[in-house]
């Protein structure tokens, strides 16, 4: 797949605070790309730069073949952005908001009407389109934000922490909308998040920590590389099992009747299981999660 966003040696500081340091990465067209990191890692700064609202100190950014800083208006026409904060006007209805903001894209009156109508249908917000933005629920507001971002039928949709502060059911519904956009419209989705389970759903993940890129890969690759799996065995004949483990030089911890072995890779379980096949009462393989991977990468638990 061609690269739709390319970021090269990007740096940005606020006074003495280095928000982003010399980061490089790319996003492939049509991917759901997750930018994972704790709060204050530099995710929003990066998204602000790519979406043309913040000037970088150094580095180049190319969006859909357009160079940031030279062709900003063209970039702006081909992106849709849902920022972390709710940025529509609370005193206006959702529909009024959409009409006003559609006015930014150089549409004719008919085009504005049509694009607003299409966007509303896409996200399914017909029920509260005529209500004031300030009076609807947090989840509905998020949906309205996404609708706003879709007004110019963008190539790339940026979502900066879109589900923060929403309840699980609302999060799930939002994800369905986002997934559908990626699938049906072949839209590239650039997501920042600090939720592991969201990053685990992505096609590709870049982990950022303290302004630097700490790791990159598919969720599977990250889990493989940065987590270990656990193999739990219980033996029919414990004494034989123990002596065999010692003979093979396998390190283990014992919890009641379970022997827990740490494995670098999931497939490492196969020869061990093969060896103990006759003596096994039962076994269990636990895969590392994105949480484990994150701790493995950054050495810290994700902060809320």
């Amino acid at each position: 797949m061609p690269k739709i966003i390319e970021v090269d040696k990007l740096s940005k500081s606020y006074g003495s605070i280095q928000a982003v340091q010399d980061i490089s990465f790319y996003v492939e067209k049509g991917d759901l790309f997750a930018f994972l990191g704790p709060n204050g890692a530099g995710k929003s700064t990066t998204i602000d730069i790519i979406t043309t609202v913040l000037m970088p100190d150094k580095g180049t950014v190319v969006v859909d073949g357009l160079v940031l800083g030279k062709e900003d208006d063209k970039i702006r026409s081909s992106i849709g952005v849902v920022y972390q904060d709710n940025l529509l006007d609370r005193l206006l209805t959702v529909e009024e908001n959409l009409f006003f903001r559609a006015g930014f894209y150089g549409f004719t009156k008919d085009q504005i009407k049509e694009s607003v109508r299409n966007a509303i249908i896409t996200t399914g917000i017909q029920d509260y389109a005529k209500q004031r933005y300030g009076k609807i629920s947090g989840g509905q507001r998020r949906r309205a934000d996404i609708t706003r971002a879709l007004i110019n039928t963008p190539q790339i949709l940026f979502l900066d922490e879109p589900t923060t502060g929403l309840d699980p059911q609302t999060r799930k519904n939002l994800w369905e909308v986002i997934r559908k956009l990626q699938r049906d419209r072949e839209m590239t989705i650039f997501l920042t998040t600090h939720y592991m389970e969201e990053a685990a759903e992505a096609d590709y993940v870049v982990v950022i920590d303290e302004g630097k890129i700490a790791a990159r890969g598919t969720p599977f690759e990250l889990k493989e590389k940065y987590t270990s799996d656990l193999l739990k065995l219980s033996f029919k004949d414990e004494i034989k099992g123990l002596s065999d483990l010692a003979a093979l030089g396998i390190m283990y911890t014992r919890v009641v009747d379970q022997f827990i072995i740490r494995l670098p890779h999931t497939t490492d379980a196969l020869p061990i299981l093969d060896h103990f096949r006759q003596n096994l009462n039962g076994f269990e393989v636990l895969n590392g999660t994105m949480d484990d991977a994150f701790i493995g990468i950054t050495g810290k638990e994700i902060r809320e």
């Binding site: 043309t52 609202v53 940025l87 005193l91 006003f100």
Partner: protein
């Protein structure tokens, strides 16, 4: 630019609190006048019959000028909030020119200031009529509308420049409160200019909104003074006019209406130019 301006106007009028607070100094002036000042002043008049008509006309003229200025401050709150709440980001990430955003803010503030001044004008006329006075003639009405248009232009320009130094909503509301408190003095409404010490008189004469107040007073008070001061020697009438800030004097030289008008336009144009320069220089951090 036009749809953006209409968004700002809609937001202003839907926020009842903003509308109320941008009119706060107007309410204070009316309150003080109705409760205390009005009676104190009118009781000193020789011809009691027209005293109220004269003083009502005087206060309403000042009120219209103040309204143009304070509602412009209130309307700028939308711009400050867009910055503070980062709503601005949503505009900046869209393919819309920075200059047309800036123009959209200015245009909406101007329109709001004019609309509110016109409303104050209508209410003022109703008040004068209800209290035994007469309505202005057609020519006078057009002159007042002209003054409102220029006063609002000047006010928007001046405030825009000041707001260039204000970066937070807190600082903005402090500024708005201070101006709201001072404006009644700065335009010589709480106390007529003639009752104030010379240094304060100078400040009033420099403050551009005082000039639109003075011009409006000349128009509002033309008829009431003619009938109310009928037979009074001209020197006494002129003394009264000077005392009440209907006409300003620098030394012994009278400032003519044209001079006031030129001063207002000049100040408006000057501050507008500074504001445009500031806006075009402004970049995102």
């Amino acid at each position: 630019m036009i749809p953006f301006a209409s968004r700002n106007i809609k937001l202003y009028f839907r926020d009842k609190a903003t509308v109320f607070f941008s009119l706060l100094s107007v309410f204070i002036i009316i309150g003080l006048y109705v409760l205390f000042l009005g009676n104190a002043w009118t009781s000193e008049f020789p011809n009691q019959e027209y005293a109220k008509f004269i003083m009502n006309s005087w206060i309403m003229a000042g009120l219209i000028s103040v309204t143009g200025f304070t509602t412009a401050i209130g309307a700028f709150e939308i711009m400050i909030q867009d910055r503070e709440l980062k709503i601005e980001k949503d505009f900046l990430s869209a393919p819309v020119k920075r200059s047309s955003l800036a123009a959209g803010y200015l245009l909406s503030v101007y329109i709001i200031s004019v609309i509110m001044s016109l409303i104050a004008f209508i209410l003022g006329e109703i008040f004068i009529l209800a209290d035994g006075g007469e309505l202005l003639g057609a020519v006078a009405i057009f002159k007042i509308i002209g003054i409102i248009l220029i006063n609002s232009f000047m006010s928007v320009s001046i405030i825009q420049v000041i707001i260039g130094f204000i970066h937070t909503a807190n600082a903005f509301s402090a500024f708005s409160t201070i101006i709201g408190t001072l404006i009644g003095f700065l335009t010589g409404i709480y106390l007529p200019i003639g009752q104030l010490p010379n240094s304060v008189q100078t400040i009033i004469r420099i403050f551009p909104v005082s000039h639109s107040a003075s011009l409006a007073r000349q128009i509002f008070m033309d008829i009431p003074l003619k009938i109310g001061f009928n037979g009074v020697p001209e020197a006494a009438v002129n003394g009264f006019k000077e005392m009440m800030g209907v006409t300003f004097f620098v030394g012994s030289k009278e400032i003519t209406p044209w001079m006031s008008l030129c001063y207002m336009l000049l100040i408006g144009a000057l501050f507008f130019a500074i504001a445009v320069m500031n806006l075009s220089k402004r970049k995102m951090k």
